[in-house]
Amino acid sequence: MTTETLIWLLPLPPLAAFALIVLFTNRSKALSHSIAVAAALLSWLGSMAVFIQAIGVEHLGEHPFHSVLEWLPVGDKPFEIGVLVDPLSAVTLFFVGWTVLMIFIYSVGYHNFGQPAGDHDHPGLPPHGATVHGHTVPSVEPMYSRFFAFIALFAFGMYTLVVSDNLLTLFVGWEIMGLCSYLLIGFWFAKPSARAAAIKAFMTTRVGDVFMLMGVAYLYAATGTLSFREIFFNEEVLKHLAETPALGGFLGFSAAGLIGVLLFIGTIGKSAQWPLHVWLPDAMEGPTPVSAMIHAATMVSAGVYMVIRMFPLLSAGWEEGGPLTPAMTAMAFIGALTALFAATIALAQNDIKRVLAYSTISQLGYMIAALGIGAYVAAAFHLVTHAFFKALLFLGSGSVIHGVEHGVLHTGNHKVDPQDMFNMGGLRKKMPVTFWTFLIGGFALSGFPFVTAGFWSKDEILADAFANNLPVFLVLALSALLTAFYTMRQITLTFLGEPRTKEAAHAQETPWTMTLPLVVLSVFAIGYGWVGIPEGLTGGAIPNWFHEFVAGTLPEHLPVLEFNILPMLFSIVIALTGLGCGYYVYRNVKAGDPDPLQKPLGMVYDWLKNKYYFDQLYDRIFIQPSIWVSEVFTTLWVDRGLIDGILHGVARISYSVGGILRNDFDLPVINQFIGDGSAKVVRSAGFELRKVQTGRIQQYMVAAVVFAVGALAFFLLR
């Protein structure tokens, strides 16, 4: 089998698993998860094989694995779709393969496989526990098989996106993931909050998608192709796009600039960047493996992947050190803003998953900002490391919640929210594996110096910003400080100190299906950073493999940034300060205590707690007016009032004219002389249909013919 064939096959096992589970095995839980995990395993194997082949090819960027197929004949030139593995897709495949497989395995334990069915469980609601020998134990998820079907379909979408060689199939994968995200956020569909969150997610990302689709359409109209290589490796095309004014100079954009901005709006939606960030925190309504896979490691990363992929276009016309293109400016601004903005909100969240959700938004902002200032490799590097450590953190939080839920079942006090960190504390003793792996993930997120992957990738971004764009550097550095702070706040509140509730005291370590993925992911959360250590630091003793490899994706070779010790010192200080403060402030929180930050921050704390009131604002300025326009203005006023009003008016006038004709002409004139005899025949023939006869139809048909003949006569005799 050639590597190209293998790449074509990569997305298929999960799709087959989806079909098999939906059609045949949905009644058997064991069979369903076996099929799904086996499919994930196959795709993982394939991805690793492709990855190994890819790193063995010299100059993979120039000679990638590529194969095409004619798909949709549009116009003269048929639309070809194909698969492509170049360095960027190779490293993406690597982390997608690992995280997807781990999350599939984790889901088995998360949904309580092997436990009895619940006493009062319903499909569409989270399981409530079952009674065995008088004890309450966790119960298995009633829609277990359906869950695996959905995540398998999702994996298909993600693999499709990664191996696509063109924007169209990338968009197909993108939307399939959007659909699965919708289905999985609303997995417990009988919960009104989950239902609302699902719709919110789909609609918000859809806004971005439509702009992206416009960008795709414009790109196609301008170049006649959507294939990455045909656009990026063709200097003439890029030059042409960069120099043609968009739409004759709309807002001073070049064609490349406008297309870039449109595509980037798609990313804003998908990767939950400000101002379309509102859906991601609510998406935590879904089961935790979903949050880990879709809303941390893969789908939201796909938004960043897309802009990294499109970088040659987004940066067309930009030269190292020169002014940024409109798309890059937008990315630098929105990315940096989002990084800081989301980090501040994360400070005041008490739900363990919501903290991570805002942290995800913030970290994605990092990558976007990095790409905006031209730090192509740094953005890709952080994309990969973040996928590992954030999936780890989410899975860890799921394990924590699971453990605390165990305590809740034990005490039977269902008023205790097992996701609220203020109800936890001291879990390190009860859940050692979860604790240590979470610690690794949290340190990676904070950028704990030297050992964690997050340190190296974040440092590369900061170093680049330090050299090229000081304002962005300052914003990102501040966000990094906050990140370290809220991460340590989370770790301290959850694992350190003493349990603040009985439930936390009775928490239990989760089964191996859940802890094994944590261990595997924590290996990457540490080790993956070592492939991208700046050569300037080690004097070339350890090669910066990642930069070497991924930079080869671009047709022009990006210069390696000259090593500067200053930003690295900054990142070390920032990470340690943040971690230290986080521990110091939260080390002594007792049961029932308010957040120690509440008092000193005052009003600001309320703002943060309420996410700067964006939900309320959007409701006021977008949702309510749209509903008014839809329900009142168009439906009541225009449709029923104006348009039908005119129609009914016309009908009434013709009716009275008809009445006059009938009474003053028809009855006295026609009926007196002609008609009654023939009318009888007609009447008996039409007997069957009499009930529906209104009498008006015949009048109008006569009128129509008279009118037609008259009009014809007018035209002919004129």
Binding site: V22, W71, L72, P73, V74, G75, P123, G124, L168, V172, W174, E175, I176, L179, Y182, F189, A190, P192, R195, A198, I199, F202, M203, R206, L213, M214, A217, Y218, Y220, A221, A246, L247, G248, F250, S626, I627, V629, S630, E631, T634, T635, V638, D639, D644, L647, A651, E688, L689, K691, V692, T694, R696, Y700, M701, A704, A708, A711, L712, F715, L716
Partner: protein, 511 residues
């Protein structure tokens, strides 16, 4: 008469023969009546597949015989199957048996008349898509009105009389001017044959072109329906029985868009070019307006009905982009709309049969009790939303590409901008993209109203009265299955469908 010509005649009149055969069955034997009707429709479908088998995309299958010759009017019996009509013919012959299947338990009253009207309707629709003689076309066109009028008027809901009359009058009023126009053409150029008239189209004076274009356009625009001539549609749909709605949305509306394609664009190219921005403007208003009104509906059927206004706006936009991509997309989208909206109406009908209500508030959480229904409704809704991987996306995407690259729209935009002298909004070229951009907003709205419908029906808390609903029966699944297969097929591999229609479109555009 060669084999193809024979099949053409057969496919058109087989349903009529079936309708006659129904007279041999006693009115009480309802099942026998249903079977006769179903078998007739299936045979018709079989014949249309036979036509597909011998069809060559580059060439039409044709039959042309002199028929009436009165007062210098030479009316021919002239039918042809070409790339513009083949998919619509297949759609008609496919949807008819499915619609008949859907009436199995829902129509108990006067089954014989119902089936007879239904089959008559099929003949009428097929005639409309096949006729190549203007006069013959008009006869078929008006012929479809009568059975539909009775289907709504007899088997409809509470306000059926209002709806039936509104439907009839509206369409009638629209076609009168078309009749005038085609009679004028026929007398002026001494033929009603469409190919002959196309050959002479250069001789039609520009001013006459404008008037003729408008006369035809009015008839077709009402049928489509284009905003603001659409208000008959929701009423007709809400009152019509399920099978009627399926055919109404699936096929009858396409007669309007097909009419634009077959007559306006081919006979009056100059006028089409001039009117294209206006038609595109109305189309975009229709897309957004239909979507907004749709969102406000509390009745599932009305919601789907208004969504048709929105979706057909896309078709019209594609047609009046006046380029290859736009028209290809429009033609494909006609089929897509027939498939997904047909399926939506079928499924709303299935719900109605179970609960005797279509109010969205009456449902909720149904995914739990009737999972097969829930899953299929989701697929069909997403196809209508335009999710990639399903058919709707291919159509909408191609149409948007067509509109974005349209010379006709771009040129008009330039003229508007120049005429207004607005130099502060420098957007002179690529004007088509503006049209595409506004239309794309409809894609967002489509997700809003369809997901809201889905959420209200299938998600959320379950009501007590819905606890014992029965999931879909085998008959119902079989009814939906062909539509689902096509929804996926077109979505995943549209090439065979495009290959059927592309040569005819190229020929029409003069490539």
């Amino acid at each position: 008469m060669d084999f193809g010509a024979l099949l053409l005649t057969l496919v058109t009149f087989a349903p009529l023969l079936g309708a006659a055969a129904l007279l041999l069955v006693k009115p009480e034997q309802k099942n026998a009546l249903r079977w006769v009707a179903l078998i007739t429709a299936l045979v018709t479908f079989g014949i249309s597949l036979g036509l597909l088998a011998i069809f060559n995309p580059a060439d039409a299958i044709r039959i042309d015989l002199p028929w009436l010759s009165v007062a210098g009017w030479n009316v021919h019996y002239h039918l042809a199957l070409d790339g513009l009509s083949i998919l619509l013919v297949l759609l008609t012959t496919l949807l008819t048996p499915l619609a008949i299947l859907s009436t199995w338990t829902s129509v108990e009253d006067r089954v014989r008349q119902f089936m007879a009207f239904f089959l008559m309707l099929e003949t009428g629709m097929l005639g409309v898509f096949l006729a190549q003689d203007l006069f013959l076309f008009y006869i078929f066109w008006e012929f479809t009105l009568v059975p539909m009028y009775f289907l709504i008027g007899i088997w409809g809901g509470e306000r059926r009389i209002y709806a039936a009359v509104k439907f009839f009058l509206y369409t009638m009023a629209g076609s009168v001017l078309m009749l005038v126009a085609l009679l004028w053409l026929g007398t002026q150029y001494n033929t009603f044959s469409l190919p002959e008239l196309i050959a002479q189209r250069a001789n039609i004076p520009p001013q006459a072109q404008t008037w003729l274009f408008l006369a035809f356009a009015l008839a077709f625009a009402i049928k489509v329906p284009m905003w603001p001539l659409h208000t008959w549609l929701p009423d007709a749909h809400v009152e019509a029985p399920t099978a009627g709605s399926v055919i109404l949305a699936g096929v009858l509306l396409k007669m309007g868009t097909y009419g634009f394609l077959r007559f306006n664009l081919t006979l009056f190219p100059q006028a089409s070019w001039e009117f294209s921005p206006w038609m595109a403007l109305l189309a975009i208003i229709g897309i957004l307006y239909g979507a907004l009104v749709s969102y406000a509906q509390t009745d599932a059927k009305k919601l789907v009905a208004y969504s048709s206004v929105s979706h057909l706006g896309f078709v019209m936009l594609g047609l009046f982009a006046l380029n290859q991509q736009g028209i290809q997309g429009a033609l494909l989208q006609m089929i897509n709309h027939g498939l997904s909206t047909g399926a939506l109406f079928l499924m709303v009908g299935m719900l109605y049969e179970r609960r005797h209500t279509r109010a969205l508030d009456a449902f909720g959480g149904l995914w739990k009790v009737i999972p097969v229904f829930g899953t299929l409704l989701l697929i069909v809704s997403l196809s209508s939303v335009g999710l990639p991987g399903l058919n709707g996306f291919i159509g909408e995407f191609t149409i948007l590409l067509g509109a974005a690259g349209s010379d006709a729209l771009g040129n008009a935009w330039n003229q508007i901008v120049t005429a207004l002298g607005v130099s502060f909004i420098p957007m002179r070229s690529a004007g088509g993209l503006w049209f595409a951009g506004f239309a794309a907003l409809g894609v967002i709205f489509a997700a809003a109203y369809l997901l809201q419908m889905y959420q209200k029906i299938c998600l959320g808390a379950l009501k007590a009265e819905n606890q014992n609903l029965k999931d879909l029966s085998w008959r119902e699944i079989i009814t939906l299955l062909p539509l689902l297969v096509l929804i996926f097929w077109i979505g995943l591999y549209p090439k065979p469908f495009i290959d059927l229609i592309a040569p005819a479109i190229n020929q029409m555009l003069g490539y």
